[in-house]
């Protein structure tokens, strides 16, 4: 089966049940009072349900069959007992209602807490993690896996306790009745413990297999959904359907093997109950024949013994829920235990009050995979207020430099400093708030346009409107059905690529970064809009350090300093005029860009070699 090259959960190894339970309990502790309440209610319900037959018994023995009483007294007594009976029935009903709601509340609150913790944790993980873990898997953890655990809190935790208490009580009762028979029955306790442990191990493996297949399925689905137009345009429907059906069949097979496992183990308790009955009948009957036991005792023993197996059956049924939940819990806790490779320093340096914006890359060496470096011993300085442009062949490592500056990744050697402060000594939030960046791929959140621009910058609607008019964006906002309040992102209004880039610009204009980084920020924007944007930038960020990455050479014309990169190295740097004068890579690019010819000019032949 295809695994899309992701490491399928090898990192964490498997957690022991003990540890998982420990952590679940730790989460439950916040709700111990409510949990104790639920357990009490549950004991009350059990007690109430067991009292009802006794009341009935009392009604029959005390009044219905009591021939020595007067008929009127018998009738009155019967009515009184019935009243009590009715009252208890209503009470049990009410208690069950309260307990159901209470348990749901506890379960949901705990799940909410775990979900929040997991979400917070995932957001803290490094980008390397995200590039190796498919979205579908993380989403499954956050939603389905947590949902799966929830069952455990509502139906299992309390039942577990309740049933164990009941089983223990009955066992004691049985011992009081007849030690020898009870001893015979006790044989089944270790046997069922053994069976259950074996079952647990197998069931867990089964659920694990099911869940990982589900993740594959969800991943495939999510990719297919987001890329459906491409699949259709490339006539991939048939093939995708087959691939999906293969995955789906894999899932079916795993669930079927789970059914087989459960089909084998679930009837075992029932079988043991019958076996015990047979043994007691045979052994107890023998004892009676030898007059060492009375018939009454045997009958009473058998009926209580059935009660003993009832909680056991209940427990083994809940066991499937437990195992499924444990498989999910295991995955969730493993994810929570995955440490981020990039974290805040233990004692971060204070963020300087005013940032001049001096940027220095010092002998940086980096590769996404350490064996294949992408950046080779690169050094680079941006003086405060300098506008630097970065050009270079595609894949030469320009975006990678931005990734390193934002500490999305950590360089294998070398340091990056802002105003002389090593960025790895700064708090991540401080660092990232100093650098305003427009990323190469514009990402849209599912929200209104206004919220997408403001995000967490705290700007008011007025501010945004003035930014929009300065950037010439109001023309496009006016066309939207609800203006600034139009919902965009998945399920909302679709923007054109250029409009998305304009949006990304508005985002950065809402902020006040010391250093501005634009990574291909205007690639999809027409020149006229670009001119307007440049002016707006000039207005807002005059005198700030800026790094502009662009392929369209007209975009970088205003730069004080131009850096040309190839294959992770700086091949040339200087002002436009200097570079034009010395010739070489940059001059060739410019010549090629301006030539009106048909590509046979000398510049291109020089760029691509003879």
């Amino acid at each position: 089966m295809r695994n899309f090259g992701y490491d399928e959960d090898k990192r964490g190894g498997s957690l022991s049940d003990f540890r998982i339970w420990g952590r679940i309990l730790r989460y439950s502790i916040h709700h111990w009072l409510a949990l104790a309440g639920a357990v009490t209610l549950s004991l009350f319900i059990t007690g109430g349900t067991l009292t009802l037959p006794t009341l009935l018994q009392q009604g029959i023995d005390g009044f219905i069959t009591a021939g020595n009483l007067e008929d009127t007294a018998r009738l009155a007594g019967l009515t009184r007992t019935s009243l009590w009976y009715g009252l208890l029935v209503l009470l049990v009903f009410a208690t069950t209602f309260v307990q159901t709601v209470l348990l749901e509340w506890i379960g949901q609150s705990i799940m909410h807490r775990i979900r929040q913790d997991l979400f917070t944790h995932i957001l803290r993980l490094d980008l390397q993690f995200f590039s190796t873990h498919p979205t579908g898997r993380l989403v499954t953890r956050l939603t389905n896996d947590i949902q799966n655990m929830h069952e455990m809190f509502t139906s299992v935790m309390v039942t577990l306790f309740n049933e164990l208490v009941r089983m223990l009580g009955i066992l004691i009762l049985l011992y009081l009745m007849n030690v020898k028979l009870a001893l015979l029955l006790t044989i089944f306790v270790p046997i069922s413990a053994l069976v259950t442990t074996l079952f647990a191990r197998l069931a867990r493996a089964c659920f694990r297999a099911i869940r990982s297949q589900l993740v594959l399925l969800n991943n495939f689905l999510q990719e297919a959904i987001t890329g459906m137009a491409i699949l259709q345009l490339f006539s991939r429907e048939e093939k995708s359907r087959r691939e999906f059906e293969d995955l789906s069949r894999g899932y079916l097979e795993r669930t079927l093997s789970q059914i087989r496992l459960f089909g084998t183990f679930m009837p075992i308790t029932e079988f043991m109950s019958s076996l015990a009955t047979a043994m007691i009948l045979w052994y107890g009957g023998g004892e009676i024949l030898q007059s060492r036991l009375s018939l009454g005792e045997l009958v009473a023993f058998i009926s209580y013994m059935r009660l003993f197996f009832q909680p056991l059956r209940e427990l083994s049924q809940k066991y499937s829920i437990v195992q499924s939940a444990m498989a999910s819990a295991e995955r969730i806790f493993q994810l929570l235990d995955t440490a981020s490779r990039i974290a805040d320093p233990a004692r971060p340096l204070a963020k300087p009050a005013t940032v001049r914006g001096e940027l220095h890359f010092d002998r940086i060496r980096f590769g996404y995979n350490p064996q294949t470096p992408v950046i080779h011993d690169l050094s680079l300085t941006l003086r405060p207020g300098q506008a630097v442009a970065l050009v270079g062949t595609t894949g030469s490592g320009k975006t990678t430099l931005v990734n390193l500056l934002l500490r999305f990744y950590e360089a294998q050697s070398g340091t990056i400093t802002i105003d002389g402060l090593d960025i790895s000594h700064l708090a991540l939030a401080d660092l990232r708030s100093m650098v305003g960046v427009v990323l190469q791929d514009v990402l849209i959140l599912q929200d209104s346009l206004l919220a997408n621009i403001v995000m967490n910058s705290g700007r008011s609607r007025k501010d945004v409107e003035s930014i929009l008019s300065r950037t010439g964006m109001n023309r496009f906002v006016r066309r939207l059905p609800h203006g600034l309040d139009t919902m965009i992102g998945e399920g909302g209004h679709e923007l054109s690529s250029g409009e998305k880039q304009l949006l990304a610009f508005a985002r950065v204009l809402c902020r006040d970064p010391a250093v501005l980084v634009l990574d291909e920020a205007t690639a999809a924007i027409d020149t006229e809009s670009e001119n307007i944007l440049e002016e707006a930038l000039d207005d807002s960020f005059r005198g700030r350090t800026s790094l502009v990455i662009a392929h369209r050479l007209s975009t970088i014309r205003r730069a004080d300093h131009i850096i040309a990169m190839q294959h992770g190295r700086i091949v040339q740097q200087g002002s436009h005029d200097e570079l034009m004068a010395t010739g070489g890579y940059y001059a060739d690019l410019v010549a090629m860009d301006r030539s009106n010819g048909n590509g046979e000019d000398t510049a291109s032949s020089r760029l691509f070699g003879p």
């Binding site: 590039s131 689905l221 029932e270 998945e490």
Partner: protein, 611 residues
């Protein structure tokens, strides 16, 4: 400095767009409609089901036999008419029955629960095939998170109802019918009295289940929102980190989560009533028997033995009653989910669905747009207005301001959105009369934002032609000027590129998408600004290659780079959805102010001196 106060804006956490919200709360379909959805599976596996239920009923029956055997032994012991040997025989009989019960339990579980899994798989595959037939407007309305929730949560609910739900229902039905028959045998009036609370139970459950349906719906919707929010956050992780929005997002997630908790509690309120109400009804029956039956005994019209037997039968009814409460719940949940699935499967693509008749492809296809008018949705301002255009062999460039409708034209040609009749013609015929795949098979398409799949590079290039040889793949990559870079990767063409190609640079992703289109070797090539993240030199190289390769064919290139446009045969300038101008480079320099200003900024060396 702008104020740094966080969260001052009352942000709308997910008010879904108005048109979508109408959609997420599907109308309740009639029961036969829903059952129609399940019919194929039920029909196909009917014998499996019959076998399962027979096993289930035999198990029920055998379970009633064991107490009889026991009674036989006890009776024998009571009058000392039994020997050691026959005691052993009885014990052996019990064990034998127990073995049969265990075996049959395995059988029904495998057959019936297995059936529910088969049904689930069948529905899942159906949903997927359905999605494969949906068009862009559909996917704009339904978020991936929502669709994924359908295939996980909703299917699970349906599976549960058709598996354990059905088993419990059958079990409860058999048990209660048998018990009621025994009770009727003893005393008819008393039975009717004991069953008095039942209609009340039925009415109560029915009236609550309507509300339950509604609340389940809310829960599923909230779950979809939660799924979509997680998904879009994970996808946008770079943005969130770069803008230090972690806290901000966590806060929004928290609000969504709280809403989810609340709506689950809303369900629990009703569930907390429905589940114990069955027990309540059973117990009330018991109360009536105690009160009325007791009087009958005292009055001497009912024997004590019958009374006790009656009570023990009624006690046997309590479990099936409880099961009914549970089943009602599960079935309600299943129906709610089935309804959502029904609604999904009922969505129709807006594009005409004409079966492919195997017509041979055209060698020199051409498009003509006649007075084409297009809006993405009714009520939205039109994206294209009155477009008259002929796109035949040759290289056509399209340019224009952001949002002027360039991509929209490309999408319409590729038949991703519907067009009105008589406005778009392919090879002289109205596209609405042609199968979608017929038109699409002529077009190699490079979108503005490359869509790649988490697979190997080779598999991504070969997307449209899985049978392509290695040489062909390499040749396509070379034409897209990416062959060398691929070879430099540690695993070459077998390298995995991660989801959406995250392990590649922006320009590499674009060229990969281009290579994918080139491999298809179709007569029309549409490049929607597909080289914007590529440096001038590489762009030039690619373009030179294209010109050779596509000589005599149709190429449509959207671009904002004058250099690129000047090399095309004809340039179309769009402005606010209209054609502002068409013509060659020189013509446009004279005729179009938009084009001229582009030229001035990008081409004139003096421009920078002027600044």
């Amino acid at each position: 400095m702008p104020p740094r106060a966080l969260f001052v804006l009352p942000l709308s956490v997910h008010t879904p767009p108005s048109d979508a919200s109408a959609d997420t709360s599907p109308k309740r379909a009639s029961l036969p409609e829903l059952i129609d959805l399940l019919r194929p599976s039920f029909g196909r596996y009917r014998w499996q089901l019959v076998g399962g239920f027979v096993a289930l009923i035999i198990v029920d029956f055998l379970q009633l036999v064991i107490p009889r055997v026991l009674k036989h032994g006890v009776d024998g012991l009571a009058d000392s008419s039994i020997s050691h040997a026959s005691l052993l025989g009885l014990a052996a009989l019990i064990v034998a029955i127990a073995i049969a019960v265990a075996g049959l339990r395995f059988v029904w579980r495998y057959l019936i629960i297995g059936f529910s899994r088969l049904l689930e798989q069948n529905l899942r595959n159906r949903i997927f095939s359905h999605l494969l037939r949906m068009d862009a407007p559909f996917f704009e309305k339904h978020t991936p998170g929502d669709l994924m929730a359908h295939s996980s949560n909703d299917l699970a609910a349906v599976q549960m109802a058709c598996g354990m739900g059905m088993v419990a229902a059958a079990d409860a039905l058999v048990m209660s019918l048998a018990t009621i028959a025994f009770m009727l045998h003893i005393h008819v009036q008393l039975t009717l009295l004991a069953l008095l609370p039942m209609p009340f139970l039925a009415w109560f459950t029915r009236s609550l289940s309507g509300r339950l349906h509604h609340r389940f719906n809310t829960v599923q919707e909230q779950f979809s929102l939660l799924t979509e929010f997680s998904r879009s956050t994970v996808v946008s992780i770079r943005l969130i980190k770069a803008y230090t929005m972690e806290l901000f997002q966590t806060d929004r997630f928290d609000r969504l989560g709280r809403r989810y908790v609340r709506s689950n509690l809303g369900v629990a309120y009703i569930q907390g009533l429905i589940t114990p109400i069955a027990t309540l009804a059973g117990n009330l029956g018991m109360l009536i028997i105690l009160l009325v039956g007791g009087r009958l005994v005292i009055a001497g019209t009912l024997t004590m033995g019958d009374f006790v037997a009656f009570i023990s039968y009624l006690a046997m009814l309590v479990w099936p009653m409880m099961a009914i409460g549970w089943v009602a719940n599960i079935v309600q949940r299943g129906l709610t989910s089935l309804n959502r699935i029904h609604h999904l499967l009922g969505c129709r693509a807006t594009l005409p669905d004409i079966a492919d008749n195997g017509e041979p492809p055209l060698d020199h296809p051409s498009f003509s747009l006649r007075g084409l008018h297009f809006a993405y949705a009714p009520g939205l301002s039109p994206a294209l207005v009155d477009i008259d255009l002929k796109i035949g062999p040759g290289i056509h460039g399209i340019t224009g301001r952001t949002g002027s409708g360039k991509s929209t034209i490309c999408r319409l040609l590729a038949r991703l959105y519907p067009v009105a009749d008589g406005q778009l013609f392919f090879g002289g015929r109205d596209v609405n009369a042609l199968p979608l795949s017929y038109v699409r098979n002529h077009i190699a398409y490079v979108g503005q934002e490359p869509v790649l799949f988490s697979d190997t590079i080779a598999a991504n290039i070969a997307l449209g032609r899985p049978e392509a040889t290695e040489q062909e793949i390499i040749a396509a990559a070379a034409s897209a000027a990416i062959d060398e870079e691929i070879r430099e990767l540690p695993d070459g063409y077998a390298s995995l590129i991660g989801e959406r190609g995250v392990k590649l640079s922006g320009g590499q992703r674009q060229r990969l998408a281009l290579a994918r289109a080139l491999l298809c070797d179709r007569p029309v090539l549409v490049i929607d600004d597909g080289l914007s993240a590529v440096d001038v030199a590489t762009e030039h190289e690619v373009f030179a290659g294209l010109r050779q390769r596509f000589a005599g064919k149709t190429v449509l290139i959207v671009s904002n780079r004058i250099k690129m446009l000047s090399l095309t045969d004809r340039i179309i300038v769009l402005d606010e959805g209209r054609i502002a101008c068409t013509g060659g480079h020189e013509e446009l320099l004279a005729a179009s102010s938009l084009y001229r200003s582009m030229y001035e900024k990008q081409m004139r060396p003096q421009a920078e001196e002027a600044l």
